[in-house]
């Protein structure tokens, strides 16, 4: 793991000499895919990143959105896939730590964590079960200790992640606009390393993450310490209030090498530092190791000599390390010394800006035939199929997961996990709703439409809470970009996301690209993960208890597009068919109608149809409210489809509205006015979940039985196999 031969030649020609060993380490870390985005950067520019609410500042690691009344929300997403695949507890925990520090570096307090977890087939694969269990504990132990609620996420299992793990963590921060750190530095300012000590853990982590996972390099995995992170959060927010921070950056991938070079490059300054001044965990560390160690819970702060005293006082109060490691120069050089001896002296723009690649792409051959459907085995008992789906790891309740996360701390959580999207209250009386969504099964079949689908699904989920989408985070996870077929799927997904973002005017406020996600059996399926941030001005849709005779309306069309559905893949073991596509016009119309009805307080609940289709969505309403429901499939807007298609199609843009029947005319009036496709498909009551087609019964299940299976099956699988 080091520089490629042509990169070494390039480095030599740029600096006009042979690099020292320390310089090689620094550049190898910073030019790694993980830190430099060299394969993806030129393409990422296509995403719209500006909008009326977006605030941009120099050197921010998180996106900033203005939510009014002098307040801002910050958001960021990261993954920790390679480390989590080797050491799931530490990998997942430090994944949380890293993204939290990105939120903190803007000067905002982290207020929520979201995690997206993906593993192999846990029904068959012991290793996947072990990875899953320990990643969840890692996130729980870290987030709970910090006192930041983990309020949402998703968990998915697919054979393509065998012996591997995708651990994505998003975080949201909140603060006053006037408290944002406006990164700046001038000659003579001092550079401070604050927080945990620098040790030998996580050496070369960013290069480790920029290669296929071939060996289990445990020393490249960082060791988590949430207690130190908690102290850092409080110390930094106190320092922010005292206005002693000029510029700030967290230490993540690439350690000091990246933090120093990127800060210097962004602020157009030089930094001279002495590795002897870094507080280390071990006494005999070589400068190379100190420069690339990815030990966690460290922050780089630039301040003036006079303000440093106050910073030192704050660090003393919290008993955390705080070392002056260097000074700001005006020469745009990154100068690393040990005592008087120079170990590296490089122009910061050379270090911080790897030459961007323009990799070739080619449509994968498998895509030519994948949409063709095979003849499916007829199903004799749909009630049985339904029970099987409700107990399947991808559809079963994730209460075993979010029940281990403190999702109440901070007393902001208005809508709790387990619903469509969680809702937080903000200090200005508004509400924030956030959701992350991915769908590798659909993205594999159609990388473009699949990615758009994830985006629309995340939007749909925040719309269900009454929130208008105001920003998007994208996390693009693919296999090796050097494979033109994989790179093609990356570009297609990115183009799809760009089209949707532009059309819906939702700016991308942050993101991450994670490449080289390869397992011993080959690349993972394309896994873009989309986070959507929604804002509610006044009235969130808080789920109310559904009671007897309440009405159920479906908004949106159900189409024959079951490719990548749980029904095809889990029940029929068939990968293929046509994947759902989003009709932009219909999608917008449906969002508009739902957002118009919610503030009128006519509805008891709004739920979206996604994984498992209408059948699962209706069952979830019934199970969450412990009440039966009778739905006539002939009433569902769909063009002459068979029962199984209507039940299990995962068509987008669909919402289930539940309300007291006395509100029917008011609800219908708005839907009709907006020319929304909808119909009344059933009503609640009794003790059974029933689907009929005309007079014919298709599914008939007791709610309590279904609920027991749905709630317990994931826990049983993890604990007892």
């Amino acid at each position: 793991m080091s520089l490629e031969p042509q990169e070494l030649t390039e480095l030599k020609s740029k600096i006009g000499r042979d690099p020292t060993s320390t310089e090689l380490q620094i550049v190898a870390a910073e030019w790694s895919e993980h830190c430099s985005y060299k394969s993806s950067k030129r393409h990422l520019k296509m995403l719209p990143m500006e909008g009326p609410l977006v605030i941009t500042e120099k050197g921010y690691d998180s996106g900033v959105l203005d939510v009014g009344d002098g307040y801002v929300v910050t958001a960021h997403i990261e993954s920790h896939n390679h480390p989590s695949a080797v050491e799931p507890y530490g990998g997942a925990a430090t994944g949380v730590g890293g993204v939290i520090r990105d939120i903190l570096s803007a000067g905002t307090r982290p207020i929520a964590i979201f995690d997206g977890l993906r593993f192999g087939d846990i029904e068959k694969d012991q290793q996947a079960r072990w990875l899953f269990k320990n990643a969840v504990t890692g996130i729980a132990d870290y987030g709970n200790c910090l006192g930041i609620p983990t309020i949402g996420g998703e968990v998915e299992f697919d054979k393509c992640y065998e012996n591997y793990a995708l651990v994505d963590v998003a975080a949201v921060g909140f603060g006053k606009k006037e408290n944002l750190i406006k990164n700046h530095a001038k000659k003579g300012d001092i550079v401070v390393l604050m927080g945990g000590s620098t040790g030998r853990d996580g050496i070369g982590g960013s290069q480790f993450a920029s290669d296929s996972l071939e060996s289990e390099d445990r020393s490249a995995v960082q060791i988590p310490d949430p207690f130190i992170e908690k102290l850092i959060i409080e110390a930094i927010l106190e320092a922010r209030n005292e206005k002693v921070i000029h510029a700030m950056k967290d230490l993540g991938g690439g350690g000091l090498s990246c933090a120093i070079s990127e800060t210097a490059d962004a602020l157009e300054i030089g930094i001279e530092m002495d590795v002897d001044k870094v507080h280390t965990r071990e006494s005999d560390m070589h400068p190379d190791e100190i420069m690339v160690s990815e030990s966690q819970e460290r922050m780089l702060i630039i301040t003036s000599k006079t303000k440093f005293k106050k910073l030192q006082e704050i660090c003393k109060k919290f008993r955390i390390g705080c070392s002056v490691i260097g000074t700001v120069k005006s020469d745009n050089q990154m100068h690393v010394k040990k005592g008087k001896k120079t170990f590296a002296n490089l122009p910061t723009d050379v270090v911080a800006n790897a030459t961007l690649l323009d990799l070739p792409s080619k449509e994968p051959t498998y895509l030519k035939t994948i949409e063709k459907e095979k003849k499916l085995k007829p199903i004799s008992d749909y009630s049985k199929t339904m029970m099987k789906l409700l107990s399947s790891p991808n559809i079963a309740s994730k209460i075993w997961v979010y029940g281990q996360y403190d999702h109440e701390v901070g007393i902001r959580t208005v809508v709790k996990p387990g619903r469509d999207a969680s809702v937080l209250r903000l200090d200005n009386g508004k509400f924030l709703s956030v959701k992350i969504d991915g769908n590798p099964k659909q993205c594999y079949i159609n990388p473009r439409e699949g990615a758009i689908g994830c985006f629309e699904e995340a939007c749909r989920n925040v719309v269900c809470t009454g929130a208008k989408p105001i920003g998007m985070l994208d996390h693009l996870q693919f296999g090796s970009p050097k494979d033109p077929e994989i790179f093609w799927t990356f570009l297609e997904s990115l183009k799809g996301l760009t089209d949707f973002a532009k059309d819906f005017k939702i700016p991308c406020v942050g993101g991450k690209v994670s490449l080289y996600n390869e397992t011993p059996d080959g690349p993972i399926k394309p896994t873009p993960l989309i986070g959507v941030i929604g804002l509610i001005d006044k009235t969130p849709q808080i789920p109310q208890r559904i009671s007897k005779d309440d009405c159920l309306i479906i908004v949106g069309e159900t189409k024959d597009e079951l490719g990548g559905s749980e029904y095809f893949e889990y029940i029929h073991k068939f990968i293929g068919g046509k994947c759902p596509t989003v009709d932009f016009t219909e999608s917008k119309k449906n969002m508009k109608s739902v957002l118009e009805i919610i503030p009128k307080k006519l509805l008891k609940s709004v739920h979206d149809c996604s994984k498992g289709g209408l059948a699962v969505a209706v069952s979830e309403l019934s199970m969450n409210n412990q009440i039966g429901c009778k739905v006539d499939l002939d009433k569902v807007p769909a063009k002459k489809l068979d029962a199984d298609r209507i039940l299990f199609s995962e068509s987008h843009s669909r919402y289930l509205l539940t309300f007291d029947k006395k509100n029917l005319s008011k609800v219908e009036k708005i839907l009709k006015k907006n020319k929304t496709s909808y119909n009344i498909i059933g009503k609640f009551g009794g003790e059974n979940i029933q689907f009929t087609k005309g007079k014919k019964s298709i599914i008939d299940l007791r709610v309590d039985k279904a609920q027991k299976t749905w709630l317990n099956s994931l826990k049983d699988l993890v604990l007892h196999g």
Partner: protein
């Protein structure tokens, strides 16, 4: 009246508790860093939840040796109302102000969920507004929340009316379903569930009135009407 909220390194419910005391119940609350001392004229002390010292060694055991604990002990002896919530309860137990210990939950997992408490003693400064056996819907969030006492101590606790709250159902394997206890004088109360997360209707999906009575009890004890 003046209420002190003690902050240890790693406390993380201090700000939530402060918000409830000041914004919901209009009390004069003040934070006290664990190395400071408590003023003599303080009317009540609250130890909030969190992970003091990252739960190292055992939850609450290191914080129990913080300088401020000596002051808390003095106040407790004088009869000043002291409430420990979650990690605060663990600290009170570890510092010897309350009997028993808190062990890992039976599931061995951290548990965050809503549950029902039953009030078993309505004579304490934090429960005097409740009816006996009144139920309180309230969230728990802990990893080491299983209250344990041996049989002899349990008998003593019952005899001296020191069991303040029980869980309505078996939640985590606590002895006798105990969720909160008090000292013999009744002025020091510890509880694992989080009342500060349940007093506002906006974030309480069930009923926020019962939890509010915990704070209203304190107000009434101090002769303050809210």
């Amino acid at each position: 009246m003046k209420v002190g909220v003690v902050v240890f390194p790693g406390s993380n419910c201090d700000r939530d508790m402060y918000h409830v005391l000041t914004d919901v119940f209009n009390l004069d609350a003040q934070y006290y860093w664990h190395e400071k001392s408590l003023p003599k004229n303080i009317d009540a002390v609250i130890l909030p939840g969190g992970f003091s010292y990252g739960d190292r060694l055992r939850a609450g055991v290191i914080a129990a040796h913080s300088p401020i604990i000596k002051d808390v002990q003095k106040m407790a002896k004088k009869g000043v109302p002291v409430l420990g919530v979650c990690n605060g309860f663990q600290i009170l137990v570890e510092s010897g102000l309350l009997p028993g210990v808190l062990l890992k939950n039976e599931s061995l997992n951290f548990m965050c969920e809503w549950t029902n408490l039953v009030v078993e003693n309505n004579k304490t400064p934090f429960t005097n507004q409740f009816k006996l056996r009144q139920k309180i819907p309230i969230p728990i969030a802990n990893g080491e929340g299983r209250y344990y006492v041996d049989d002899d101590t349990l008998k003593e606790l019952k005899k001296k009316n020191q069991i303040v709250f029980r869980y309505d159902e078996v939640v985590n394997g606590s002895s006798n379903r105990i969720a909160g206890v008090c000292n013999e004088d009744g002025n020091v109360v510890g509880m694992m569930p989080h009342p500060e997360r349940a007093v506002e209707s906006e974030i309480n999906p069930i009923d926020n009135k019962p939890s509010s009575l915990i704070f209203e009890s304190l107000l009434s004890k101090m002769g303050v009407s809210n």
